[in-house]
Structures are given as structure tokens and as C-alpha cells.
Amino acid sequence: MTRFVLHRIGFYVLIAVLLAFFTVPLLWLASAPFTSDPTYQVRLPDFTSENFRAILDNPYALGSLWNSVVLAAGTAVLVVVFAALAAYALSRVRLPGRDALLYTLLLLSSIITGTAAMVPLFQLAVELHLIDSQLGLILIMTGGLLPAAIFMMKDFMDSTPKSYEESARVFGASPLQIVRHVVVPLVRPGLATIAVWAVANVWGNFLMPYLLLSDVEKQPAAVIMYTLYTEGGQANIKLLATFGLLYSVPVVLMYLFVSKKYGFRFHGGIKR
């Protein structure tokens, strides 16, 4: 009996320690935005909305959030469209060299990371005059995300039954009509998954925009956040608190949405 009690106590102590380890670093983000005159210290918030004015006072804060939206949406659209087209073709048609292509894509997506490719990508962007171009950054990030997206998408395509496509064909639908009106609705959950995954990836990406966008008016929230806490002089803590919170909220909402709608099933390794 005592053994059982000790066991229980040990268990709850362990849980408490783990909870503290994961909670303590996050406390600041929950309290500081609502505390008057916030410092690095975690204090009980007095629920002021004063700090949010700091965002309006900063010329780049809101703009950078909008830039993040543009980059994330642009990349997600391109990734979803191109990955869906490619995955459908690769799933249904036995193109020559298909298996080798898929294997290579898989290999490439894991070895050519931002870290390994930052030097040539920077060079390439300079040569193609894509420095300070949001479109250029979108294309570069799309290229980086596509292999993994095609792979995940092909998985969805492979598991959709082809009988719907066959019957549509019997009724005289053209291949493109079939793709648009039969296949797309069938794989919609897959498309949504890829879109959310791409948005999450771009939203948090710091390295690529940091390398390729030097114009502060074009930089996304990740880069502005970094500039805010590393730039010389006194960091504006009001701004950091509220801006950090606003920048984080969409990710949390997206996660809640996905886990509610699809359940956060674990699929091998979809990581941001």
C-alpha cells in the first residue's frame, strides 16, 4: 500500500516538474501583453489593453504581419496547386522513371535544407534579381516545400478510389473536367492538410526572409520580431509582448482547427 502511495506521489511530482518545464518559458507571452509597463519579469497581468497601442505606433509591426500573410498565402497556393497536379499525375499515370523520381524527391526534400542551401540560394537570388522580391521568396520557398508536399499528396491520391473517375468518364467528362469536379472534391482534406502545413512552414520561417529581404517594409513578422529584440538600445518590451502574441495567435488557431477537424493524427513526420 505504501509502495502504491509513493508511486502515485512520484508520478505527480514528475508531472508537476514536466508541466513547469514546459509552462514557465511560455508564461511571459501570456502575461506581459496584458501587464502595464511590462519587463522581462513575469507578473500578474492587470489586463490593460494599453500595450497594444505600441503595435499601432510602430511603423513596421502591422505591415510585417501582412507580409507574413502574403508570403504564407502565396506559397500555400502554389504548393497546393502544383503538388496536387503533380501528385495526381504521378499517382494515376505510370510515367517513365516515376519511381526513381519519387525516390529522388524524397531524398532531396530531406537533404537540401535552408542551412545547406543558403549560400547558393542567396547567390541565385542576387543573379536573378530576386533580392527584396516577395514573389522571388515565394517561388524559392515553394520549390523547397514541393517535394515533401508531392509525397504527402500522392499518399492521399493513391488512397482515393478510382471508380468515381471511371464513372465520370463513362458519362463523357473530359479528363480536365474529371480532375476539377471529381478528384479535387475527393482529396479536399488532403489539399487542406498541405495548405495548413505550408502556411505553418512559411509563417515560422526565419532564415529565408532574413537572407533574401533586406527592405524592412517587405520583411515578414519573423524577421521584424528578431530585429525588435536584437537591435541596439532599449528593447521596446511593450511592443515585443503584444507583437509576439499577435504573431503567435494564428499558429495556435490553425493548430486547434486542424486538431479539431481532422484530429491531429500522426503521419510519419509532418514537421514545420
Binding site: 535552408g114 479528363p175 514537421k271
Partner: protein, 308 residues
């Protein structure tokens, strides 16, 4: 671009073949046109840079100056320079410490511990613990980095408050330990979820009979659980090592400092190539990173194949 990979069943050829018939009558030509835009972008912005980095590594390309206008081939000089440069070896060693400490030990142990103690639980406690662990994983890296800068601040960081200590500045006094603990915190969610899924596959009856036979908790883990999840452990190790090896987030916490004590290879490349302007030399270091990635990835794909 630190994304990854796929469930083993993707490679399941039999399943693919069953559904691979061209039901919509797409034909090879249209299929090719469907694949083309994706391949074009991948070739230009992923494959070409990877090949170009090999070429750049053999040149004396610089960001500015004469060598920027007319770069010349310098053979393997950059590689020789890297291999004889103590800073390169320092970075390599720091990267090894970082990967070993935060991924192989930190995330694996903590992730497994979380999955293990939560395995039979349901209800709010499990949801809260898992939610917080996942929150640490999904928040943008610029935000969590700043949160840790605030946490570890010398003057009024929360850590100093909790320890009732003053002027304790982990980021300056123990920078490597700081980013290891940070990255363990940051990435434990992936391992937790993977082991959570893996533990679900251990038949409860096996555990039950082991318990009836009087096996201790440790013996159950070693003799019943581990054989079932061995494949997952290896998958997990390879993936998180690859990600941690390529992680640029330490830059957001310490920018490689103080005195280069946290200048892991990812940060080292940035410092020499883009801050220092030595693109050729930076490309040579990138080539080394690519080769290490290749070795780990090939191991991983072998593993997936052999599982089939």
C-alpha cells in the same frame, strides 16, 4: 525548409499499383504537363542550388571585391582551408554536442518519458500536458527564442526569480547548455507523438503477462516494449538528428556567441559566407553539411525499405 518525410506506407508499391490505373484518361502527355511546373520549381530552386554549391565550393567567390566580379576556380583549396581551420573543427564539435545533447539525449528521453507516463491516461491532464508540449513546438521560432532570452535574462529573467539568484546569465555563462535545453524543450513534441503512436502498438496482453511474471517496470520496458518500438526509435533518432543538425534557431538565441561558443555549423556557414562575404569557403562548408545530410537520409530511406 526543415520539413520532412513520409510514412512508410507511402512506398507501398502494391497499394499504389492497385490504384495506379489512369482512370480519368489523362494520358502521358497531360500527365507530363501536370508534373512540369512542380519539377521546374524544384529544379531551379532546390536541385540547382545543391549542384551549384558544389561548384561554388571550388571557387574563390566573394560577396564583394575583385573575386565577386571574376571568380576563379581554386580547386580544393576551400576544403583544405576548412579542414585545417580550427574554427571549422570547433563548429563541428559544437554541432556534435548540440545534436547529441538536445536531440539524441534530450528530445528522445523527454519525448519517450512523456509518451510513457501519458500512455494509459485520458482526460484533461493528458490534454493539458500534450497541449503545452505541442505549443512549444508550433510557436514561431522567433517568438520562442525571444521567450527564452527573456527567461534567461541576467537582470529580471524568470529563471533568476525562481532560483532566487542574481546576475545569473546562462546565455553568457553556459551558452551551449542553454541552447541544448532550449532545443530539447522546443522539439520534444515530435518524439512524444511518435512514441505515443508506437506505444499504442505494444499489445497490452504482452505487458500484462510480463507483469504477472513479476517483471519490474524497467524489465517490462526493456524486454516487452523496446522490441516493439525499436524501428520507431531508429526513425525518430535519424529524423530529429537531421533536423537538429540543420537547425538555424540557435542563431536567434545567441547568434553564435559569446566568442563563437554556440557557433554550430548552420550558424558558421551564415557567419563566414554572408557576414564575412567568403561565399566560396561558405559553399565548401555547405557541401560538407549536404554530404552529412545525405548519409543520414540514405540510412533513413534504407530503414523504411527494410521495414516493408
Amino acid at each position: 525548409m526543415a520539413q520532412a518525410t513520409l510514412p512508410p506506407e507511402v512506398l507501398d508499391d502494391a497499394k499504389a499499383r492497385r490504384y495506379s490505373a489512369d482512370a480519368a484518361g489523362l494520358g502521358r502527355l497531360r500527365a507530363g504537363a501536370f508534373v512540369a511546373p512542380a519539377l521546374a520549381l524544384i529544379s531551379l530552386f532546390l536541385v540547382f542550388p545543391a549542384l551549384w554549391v558544389l561548384y561554388l565550393g571550388l571557387s574563390n567567390y566573394r560577396l564583394t571585391g575583385a573575386a565577386a566580379a571574376a571568380p576563379q576556380s581554386v580547386g580544393f583549396d576551400n576544403f583544405v582551408k576548412a579542414l585545417t581551420d580550427p574554427e571549422f573543427w570547433n563548429s563541428t564539435w559544437l554541432t556534435f554536442e548540440f545534436v547529441l545533447g538536445s536531440a539524441v539525449i534530450g528530445q528522445v528521453v523527454l519525448g519517450f518519458l512523456l509518451a510513457w507516463i501519458m500512455r494509459d491516461r485520458t482526460g484533461p491532464l493528458k490534454r493539458i500536458v500534450e497541449g503545452l508540449v505541442i505549443l512549444a513546438w508550433i510557436l514561431p521560432s522567433a517568438v520562442v527564442s525571444f521567450l527564452w532570452v527573456a527567461l534567461l535574462d541576467r537582470d529580471d529573467g524568470t529563471l533568476n526569480t525562481l532560483l532566487h539568484s542574481q546576475d545569473f546569465a546562462p546565455l553568457l555563462d553556459h551558452p551551449m547548455l542553454s541552447i541544448i535545453v532550449f532545443n530539447t524543450w522546443r522539439g520534444a513534441a515530435f518524439s512524444m507523438m511518435l512514441y505515443g503512436a508506437a506505444l499504442g502498438n505494444v499489445p497490452p496482453s504482452h505487458l500484462e503477462s510480463a507483469r504477472l511474471a513479476g517483471a519490474s517496470g524497467w524489465q517490462q520496458l526493456r524486454d516487452v516494449v523496446f522490441p516493439h518500438i525499436r524501428g520507431h526509435v531508429l526513425t525518430n533518432l535519424l529524423l530529429i538528428s537531421l533536423w537538429t543538425f540543420n537547425d538555424f534557431t540557435p542563431f536567434l538565441l545567441t547568434a553564435g556567441g559569446p566568442d563563437g561558443k554556440t557557433e554550430v555549423l548552420a550558424v558558421h556557414v551564415y557567419q563566414v559566407a554572408l557576414q564575412g562575404g567568403e561565399l566560396g569557403y561558405g559553399a565548401a562548408v555547405s557541401t560538407v553539411i549536404l554530404l552529412i545530410n545525405l548519409v543520414v537520409a540514405v540510412f533513413y530511406l534504407r530503414l523504411l525499405r527494410s521495414k516493408k
